[in-house]
Symmetry: C2
Subunit: 284 residues, 2 copies
């Protein structure tokens, strides 16, 4: 598939979103799909599924410092349609993002799948990329990791239709749109943490051709200390991971968690080089 993406806007399909200059604007385009039993559990409130579908796509826009313009939805008819529309309405209202179009199709048998395309407008060019981290920079993350993991486990304990606050981070993540917009002029590289801090750091390092040296005990977590290793490997938190000079005046709270160095190996964790990404996180 990657060989088809030879347009510069596609960024080789290795970035969070496509970056497309159109006239005097720069558009940010992203499409994420969600499949029942892979991305959500049967029995989950479809309002939460709709919210998450919107939020995860808008998180890709956040990583590009973009303002949402609208979404297009691919929707498979099925159960809980009213709940889905309610969740969609809540998310679009919360993020001030209109539904521009899409397609509704008859249900297939088996698991449902949903697709969403989000379109945004860059507030700053050049648009932040994964591939431009500079040796000498510091690696930052905007907040604690592991909240979605704890939320998922609460949902497993209570049942898929549980709607308590203890599972909200998994069910209803928040894309950090204003944070991404504020950071865009300052960062040297940025992405959202969708598949775990360690795996996404590996990807940022690989795209930039640098080594990220991470002190794992510096990473803020939203989980018990004995779950630190899991919290750094679990996805779905949608914090922003970025590099910037240590002297940069940051417009948002962010924790320094490592440094950017020259090197061949993408990651050095607590002094140990990592040469294989297979145990770093969650790949869909």
């Amino acid at each position: 598939m990657r060989s088809l993406a030879n347009h510069p806007a596609a960024r080789g399909l290795t970035d969070d979103a496509a970056v497309l200059p159109v006239g005097n604007e720069t558009l940010i385009l992203t499409h994420d799909a969600m499949v029942e039993r892979v991305h959500w559990m049967p029995g989950q409130d479809m309002a939460d599924v709709a919210w998450k579908l919107v939020a995860t796509n808008l998180s890709d826009l956040a990583a590009k410092g973009a303002v949402p313009i609208g979404i297009l939805l691919g929707y498979t008819l099925g159960e809980q349609e009213e709940r889905f529309v309610a969740g969609l309405r809540a998310a679009l209202t919360a993020f001030e993002c209109p539904l521009l179009g899409g397609d509704t199709v008859s249900g297939c048998d088996g698991a449902r799948s949903l697709g969403l395309t989000a379109i945004g407008r860059a507030v700053h060019t050049p648009v932040p990329s994964r591939s431009t981290a500079q040796p000498g920079d510091t690696l930052f993350v905007t907040g604690a990791l592991g909240a979605a993991m704890m939320g998922f486990e609460a949902l497993q304990r209570h049942g898929a239709d549980h709607s308590g606050a203890d599972s909200a981070a998994f069910r209803c993540p928040t894309p950090l749109l204003s944070e991404g917009q504020a950071l865009a002029p300052i960062v040297t590289a940025m992405m959202d943490v969708s598949d775990g801090l360690l795996l996404d750091s590996w990807r940022l390092a690989t795209a930039s051709g640098v080594t990220l040296v991470i002190a794992t005990e510096e990473v803020p977590i939203a989980a018990p200390e004995d779950r630190r290793s899991d919290a750094l490997r679990w996805g779905d938190d949608y914090q922003l991971l970025f590099t910037a000079p240590l002297s940069a005046k940051l417009p948002v709270n962010a924790a320094p968690v490592g440094t950017v160095e020259e090197g061949e190996v993408p990651l050095i964790l607590d002094g140990l080089p990592v040469t294989d990404s297979s145990r770093l996180g969650f790949a869909h």
Copy 2:
């Protein structure tokens, strides 16, 4: 869902595509989904499925007189991945349209579904709409209807993996991009015929608040004469249906098939008013 689409670009979800002014350009955005067993048969060559997924989306751009800028793909892993990529490559090359991004997700059990978002740039503003047919205009169609129906029936006779020319119109339709671009400055209303000439005429009439008076024997068909009624109700032909003054100098071949009149009833077929769209065509 329609109540969420209150942005003017969404055109109330009743048009072929969203029309979004961005800076000094006007973007055309559309998203179509395809589901196995609903939109294609198990056993069909996935190269044809990929081609058709691209072609049907680009046909929506054609109806808006747009030049394709790129696509985003939502792809569910499954069988025949190499064939899918081959068909995708063929379509993107034929229509000079790059892959900009998308998402690949693990397969669900049961039927696969695919989604595609196409983005285009309008070559003429105002962008053609379904809702602006004018009483006094003539209704035209760019070519013969029923070719996809005959192709589908050939596929049913020979088996889903048949690849003969007699099924090509169903398997590999061609979006009329250059025709749409040439017609955009001339038409008063335009859409592509995806769900059958009669049902799509009903929709154009309803959106415009006019009556379309169609002489069914004037409609060019690509099927035996005794299948005329079916050919006018079968979808998937992707001809362009448009209204224009009879005196307009058309830049492409098109057959006059009816007239636009004032009235409450959307369609008059061979002198008979049609007040119910349920038997006019194929609704997904």
